[in-house]
Amino acid sequence: MIHFVLLISRQGKVRLTKWYSPYSQKERSKVIRELSSLILTRAPKLCNFVEWRGFKVVYKRYASLYFCMCINQDDNELEVLEIIHHYVEILDRYFGSVCELDLIFNFHKAFFILDEILIAGELQESSKKTVARLVAAQDSLVEAAKEQANSMSYIISQATK
């Protein structure tokens, strides 16, 4: 089971956090501090796993961002690397060659996508196409609602109420 997902920039800024196990706000910031100092200082070409508080943290760097996932001792680290890559590929398709700025300004989108991939710390969908389709469908629902809110008739109906 994945206990949490962290996206940390090379400068140590947090770009996304998702917690599947209960951590209080205080613990969360402590975890983030500990892990960023642990992971950001590791040299390249070392293995992508660090042992931490009896758990294992699998991390992978994409450009300036570190994607980290914390798992149990007996989970499959190599698979988690694939899950990270799975997520990155879907982000890449969604934003069209994703960069850190996309994730900063559209952090909620990154969350929506993650919610289509993981629930309760377990993998939900192995097809990138399906994830993309589901996110797009929900985005269009939001768009439709927005359009309706901006449409003339709606404004008039609100005004006359």
Partner: protein, 877 residues
């Protein structure tokens, strides 16, 4: 956008935060934004709630408090539209966790949304429930989720399956409700549903053995077939990862099969073929393939008896281990660690490669492989393995040295074939990484050295050489100082040369030089310096010609600001100057330390450490392995602040032996005062003690100095056997045991002799079967405290077993009971039990002592109880 809208857009806020140059600037921007959001919250602004929530989430990620937004999440979730719900649920998952009570308020909205006609809204609710539901919510909403497992849209089914995992983890009782729907998910074709269904079944098996049995019986064959299809499936672009169709599915199937096959031969047989196929056919040049192989190996190792498959699995791990990719090597080490219980022979074959990994540049790999090496060590390979590790210790990273040293020490200690080898290896470790060795390890080393009488000369010469080369390793220096102090003459005379040794000439002067330079080098370390002083004192006896020089060095510390050093040097100086006649007896070699007792204490030190605060008193009656040896050592130790009898905690024991117990006695209370006098007996004899009651001791001093050496040894011997008796703890001034030895007066009498005011003994309680006598004494300078020695005598003709004495006192008194000298009371007065009590009277002078007592014992296996009240205490206590 509406020109009248308050606040900025999300995008603008993020921009302005990013434009901040300093943390203070950022805080200012955030404060402003939070203020306007709060204002919107209190206005109950509907139009921008959605945007404010998004801003709050961003602010939350920066680490600022956002609790005021929690209720806004609930409002958004309760709103009818999809966009509001979407952002509301996201906020809920981000800003809250399952332990917040606000969460309870959302249960109703969740229930409605789980029944919503819009499947995306159902999806949102499932996602939130799966990520943050508490046990209570799980219980409330489990029926909805169960129903959704059969929903028409597969995307809802898969979400419901993962949600069910959360529910059964929170409330395992609900597992049985999910077994049937979960089983039907295993027949699905949709990958998402199949994936999550398998995961749900795996977790069901973990929480419920019934579910495990059921699934094992009904589904094993089906799952094997699903795996077979997955392995043989043609290229599918949708699921393809580096040439493998859906490795995630493979991995989950293998994992569930592992759970089903573990401990069941039939199920294991059923999956043999497909596991062999996966193990041999999977491509191992990409991570995805390796992930499958890794999972497959683990499954093979866990299921029942299939030796052919195991060979296959170990071979895969061997291949992994020689892979260039660090990740693959890491998982191989991880897996080998688990495989060692199954087939240690096979793992041994990879020993050389594993040892190479200890020297890897990657800390994660080093750590894993070191753990694995420690598991691999046995009597046959310990020599070569520890040599490799010690060689590597010299060049390893600083931060790795601690771990490595600890592991090497434990290996060497556990598997050493002979003492000389152990001593050699430990000295090597100390020379290279002495500063990383913890106290227990070098204490153990000293115990071993002291036991290896034929190696004393060899060891001290080896240490002498090592200190010349690596004087910066403090622990090495300590061991060397101790050994030179003990065996200094062997160093100088080259006694007990072993064949393989190179001859070495060391003069007395050289030996003292070593200690003196250690003393000068470690100016801040009290332990090392104190050990140096003891060693010098001992050497003064071994090297009579250098006595003057030693005396000079010791005398330098008479003015030391550290009390311990000052005291030692004054004491030693006085021994050197005034008491030549007993010096040689004092400086005798330490008696051989009891190895088994020490290791036993080490093992038990954990539990003993808990009680060390009281341990000092308790240990007196706990008994000591070698009473004659240990207290004598303590006399030599001259440490004036702790109990003379070895503590049951290993550390204290050895500290005592080494004379380095530096815990500050003066901070402790009256209890120790009593024992202090015991330890000080010798001091008192030499009239250099510090107790206030010294005035009466001058005659004793005369007594002891008039004795010749051998007599005083006898005295010491006798004394030491007496120190184990509880008597000593109560003696109010140091001279008593000695008096006792010299003129054999009964203790009550001699007490009257010189502890100031005296009190008559009383018969505190008497029945037809039992008599209790109380003897009293006061501590000088502490009028409130009375030491009571209770003496129990059996008047009947049968012995009492399990004898327990209990006492209660009113509130103005404080009572402390020490353990009794025995719990068996021999018949007809043929012996007694002695137990000490310490009573502190907070109203001394106003109220007198009073006590209620209860005595319980077994007479012919029958429980007997006696009770009584004591009010005939002598006045003035």
């Amino acid at each position: 956008m509406n020109p009248f809208s308050s606040g900025t857009r999300l995008r603008d806020m993020i921009r302005s935060i990013r434009a901040c140059k300093t943390a203070a600037e950022e805080r200012a921007v955030v404060r402003k934004e939070c203020a306007s959001i709060r204002a919107a919250v209190s206005d109950n602004d509907n139009d921008y709630r959605h945007r404010n929530m998004a801003k709050l989430m961003f602010i939350h990620m920066l680490g600022y408090p956002t609790h005021f937004g929690q209720m806004e999440c609930l409002k958004l979730i309760a709103a009818p539209g999809f966009p509001e719900k979407r952002i509301g649920y996201l906020g809920l998952m981000l800003l809250l966790d399952e332990r917040q009570e606000v969460l309870m308020l959302v249960t109703n909205s969740l229930k409605q949304d789980l029944n919503h006609t819009n499947q995306y809204i159902v999806g949102l609710a499932l996602c939130a429930l799966g990520n943050i539901s508490s046990a209570e919510m799980s219980r409330d909403l489990a029926p909805e989720v169960e129903r959704l497992l059969q929903f028409r849209d597969p995307n809802i089914r898969k979400k419901a399956a993962l949600c069910s995992i959360r529910i059964i983890k929170k409330v395992p009782d609900l597992a049985e409700n999910f077994v049937n729907p979960a089983t039907s998910l295993l027949k699905e074709k949709h990958h998402g549903v199949l994936l999550t269904g398998i995961q749900l079944c795996t977790d069901l098996c973990k929480v419920s053995t019934e579910a495990l049995e059921y699934l094992r019986k009904k589904c094993t064959e089906g799952l094997v077939k699903v795996l077979k299809d997955a392995v043989n499936s043609p290229y599918a672009p949708e699921f393809d990862i580096s040439g493998i169709a859906d490795p995630f599915l493979h991995i989950r199937l293998l994992r569930l099969l592992r759970v089903l096959g573990h401990g069941d031969t039939d199920a294991s047989d059923c999956m043999n073929d497909i596991l062999a196929q996966v193990a041999t056919k999977t491509e191992s040049n990409k991570n995805a393939g390796n992930a499958i192989l890794y999972e497959c190996v683990e499954t093979i190792m866990s299921i029942e008896d299939s030796s052919g498959l195991r060979v296959l699995a170990i071979n895969i791990l061997g291949r992994f281990l020689s892979n260039r990719d660090n990740n693959i090597r890491y998982v191989a080490l991880n897996m080998l660690m688990r495989a060692i219980t199954v087939d240690s022979q096979a793992v041994q074959r990879h020993r050389v490669t594993i040892l190479e990994c200890v020297k890897d540049s990657d800390a994660s790999i080093r750590k894993k492989s070191l753990e694995l090496v420690c598991l691999l060590v046995n009597e046959n390979n310990v020599m070569s393995l520890s040599k490799e590790l010690i060689d590597y210790l010299e060049v390893s990273d600083q931060e790795f040295k601690g771990d490595l040293t600890e592991k090497i020490c434990s290996i060497v200690e556990k598997f050493s074939p002979e003492k000389i080898w152990y001593i050699d290896q430990m000295l090597k470790v100390l020379s290279v990484a002495g500063n990383y060795v913890n106290d227990e390890v070098w204490h153990a080393l000293i115990v071993v050295i002291s036991n290896a009488s034929n190696l004393h000369g060899y060891t001290v010469r080896l240490l002498y050489r090592a200190v010349q080369l690596s004087g910066e390793q403090e622990i090495l220096v300590r061991v060397a100082v101790w050994c030179i102090g003990e065996y200094g003459e062997m160093l100088v005379n080259s006694m007990g040369m072993l064949e393989k040794e190179e001859p070495i000439t060391v003069t007395e002067c050289d030996a003292i030089d070593v200690i003196e330079s250690a003393y000068k080098q470690y100016t801040t370390d009290l332990t090392t310096r104190a050990m140096c002083l003891v060693a010098l004192l001992k050497l003064s006896c071994r090297f009579p010609s250098s006595s003057q020089r030693i005396q000079d060095i010791i005398a330098q510390n008479k003015g030391s600001l550290l009390l311990e050093l000052q005291q030692r040097s004054i004491e030693f100086d006085s021994i050197l100057q005034k008491h030549q006649n007993i010096r040689s007896a004092l400086c005798e070699r330490m008696p051989v330390l009891d190895e088994s007792a020490y290791s036993g204490r080490r093992a038990g030190s954990l539990q003993a450490a808990v009680s060390t605060s009281q341990g000092a008193v308790l240990n007196l009656s706990n008994g000591v392995g070698k009473p004659s040896a240990a207290p004598l050592v303590d006399l030599l130790d001259l440490s004036s602040d702790e109990t003379p009898v070895p503590n049951s905690s290993g550390n204290d024991f050895l500290h005592d032996l080494l004379g380095v117990d530096l815990s500050i006695g003066s901070t402790q209370t009256g209890t120790n005062q009593a024992q202090k006098s015991g330890a000080d007996v010798l001091m008192d004899l030499l009239s250099i003690g510090t107790l206030p009651s010294q005035s009466s001791l001058s005659s004793l001093d005369g007594l002891s100095s008039s004795k010749d050496n051998s007599a005083s040894i006898d005295v010491l011997e006798d004394l030491s056997s007496h120190t184990t008796l509880p008597v000593q703890a109560s003696t109010a001034s140091g001279g008593f045991p000695m008096m006792d030895l010299l003129d054999a007066l009964p203790p009550s009498e001699k007490k009257r002799e010189d502890s100031g005011p005296t009190y008559p003994s009383v018969v505190a309680y008497e029945s037809s079967s039992l008599r209790i006598t109380f003897n009293f004494s006061k501590q000088p300078g502490n009028v409130q405290t009375t030491l009571v020695e209770a003496n129990f005598v059996n008047k009947s003709s049968n012995a009492y077993a399990d004898f327990i004495f209990q006492a209660a006192v009113p509130k103005f008194l404080q009572l402390h009971l020490d353990p009794a000298s025995s719990n068996v009371l021999p018949a007809s007065g043929n012996g007694s039990i002695i137990q000490k009590l310490r009573v502190v009277n907070s109203q001394h002078g106003k109220k007198s002592l009073v006590m209620r007592i209860r005595i319980a014992y077994k007479l012919n296996d029958k429980d007997v109880k006696e009770e009584g009240q004591i009010s005939n205490f002598p006045p003035g206590l």
